[in-house]
């Protein structure tokens, strides 16, 4: 059990790092700063989005692989308990999480292609849209994962 708990903690930490990176990039892209950064929020908005692309892709893939691995354990331990407790909404939310995570993973080739340097003006709008969509995916899955963990996760 210690092994799976450790894996789950690492998965959670990777997800937090991913959440920070994609949020940073999406904010800088959709709400760019036009004047020199002063405050904390202004500095968040002032980061160059291109420098986050590689890290976001690596973090997403690693977080996904860890999640897919933990899923094997979840399927015949936590999920069975959730079903016996009739926590069907929680089970359904986790089912949705696996689909959303898959959609995020397959978005990465297009995300990477649109962010390739030199940045193409043809894909400026697509870059913004895909980055925002990826941010929504990461946030959704983070929150669902958090809820499921609260229902039947660490220490339960």
């Amino acid at each position: 059990m210690i092994f799976w708990t450790t894996l789950l903690i690492i998965h959670g930490l990777m997800a937090i790092a991913l959440l920070g990176a994609i949020t940073h990039q999406a904010v800088a892209l959709w709400w760019p700063l036009r004047v020199p950064a002063g405050s904390f929020v202004a500095r968040v908005r002032a980061v160059p989005g291109t420098s986050y692309v590689g890290a976001i892709i690596v973090l997403y893939v690693v977080t996904f692989i860890l999640g897919a691995w933990i899923y094997t354990q979840y399927r015949f331990t936590a999920r069975l308990a959730l079903e016996q407790l009739r926590f069907f909404k929680t089970v359904g939310a986790f089912e949705l999480k696996e689909h959303i995570a898959t959609m995020g993973l397959i978005l990465l080739p297009a995300y990477w292609a649109f962010w390739r340097r030199p940045l193409s003006a043809d894909y400026a709008l697509a870059r913004k849209q895909v980055t925002l969509f990826l941010a929504i995916i990461v946030w959704s899955n983070f929150l669902i994962g958090h809820i499921v963990n609260n229902a039947r996760g660490l220490g339960s």
Binding site: F76, K89, E95, M103, I106
Partner: protein, 173 residues
């Protein structure tokens, strides 16, 4: 090899094809492999549960991966207007199918006489294809000059919506 200028097209086609094939794989249940987590056994294609539950998610992803790679390589080789037309056709057909099949089931449920034929998926598929052909005829030609990059997020978003709809029984119990 894929030419440098075709990389975004390849990436976009891969994402769009994968999202569409994945939805079909989950609905029709077409896993390339089935995984039995209790015994850590992997079997080819669909398999029933043995001692403990069986997982198809990995299998659906692998089936979709193969399909999407084939589509993406073909898409990178054909002219962009063809790809744009194909995605537009597929997108309109998918939306039309969902609307027609939902309407058919609604009518079936509320009709005072037995209209068994409305439950047939093939009827809605035929209707959806007809709608897609019609729409394709009336789409302005300048819309088809280049692939619209927005498909890369719109199709996965649509797929998530459909998959969420399939999961509704979990939330309405």
């Amino acid at each position: 090899m894929i030419a440098s200028h075709n990389i975004p097209v390849f990436g976009l086609a891969f994402t769009v094809a994968y999202a569409a094939i994945y939805v079909v794989c989950t609905e029709v249940n077409l896993p390339l492999v089935s995984y039995h987590p209790v015994t850590a056994e992997i079997g080819w294609l669909w398999q029933p549960q043995r001692s403990g539950p069986v997982m198809y998610w990995y299998g659906w992803m692998l089936t979709s991966l193969i399909g999407a790679l084939v589509v993406a390589f073909v898409a990178a080789a054909v002219p962009e207007p063809w790809l744009q037309r194909a995605i537009m056709f597929g997108g309109v057909a998918a939306v039309a199918y969902l609307l027609l099949y939902t309407a058919a089931l609604f009518i079936y449920d509320n009709a005072t006489v037995e209209l068994e034929f409305l439950k047939s998926r093939s009827l809605s598929v035929a209707g959806a294809l007809a709608v897609a052909v019609l729409v394709s005829c009336f789409v302005p030609s300048h819309w088809n000059k280049r692939v619209w990059a927005g498909w890369s997020w719109l199709v996965p978003a649509g797929s998530i919506a459909v998959l969420a709809y399939y999961l509704m029984p979990y939330f309405t119990r």
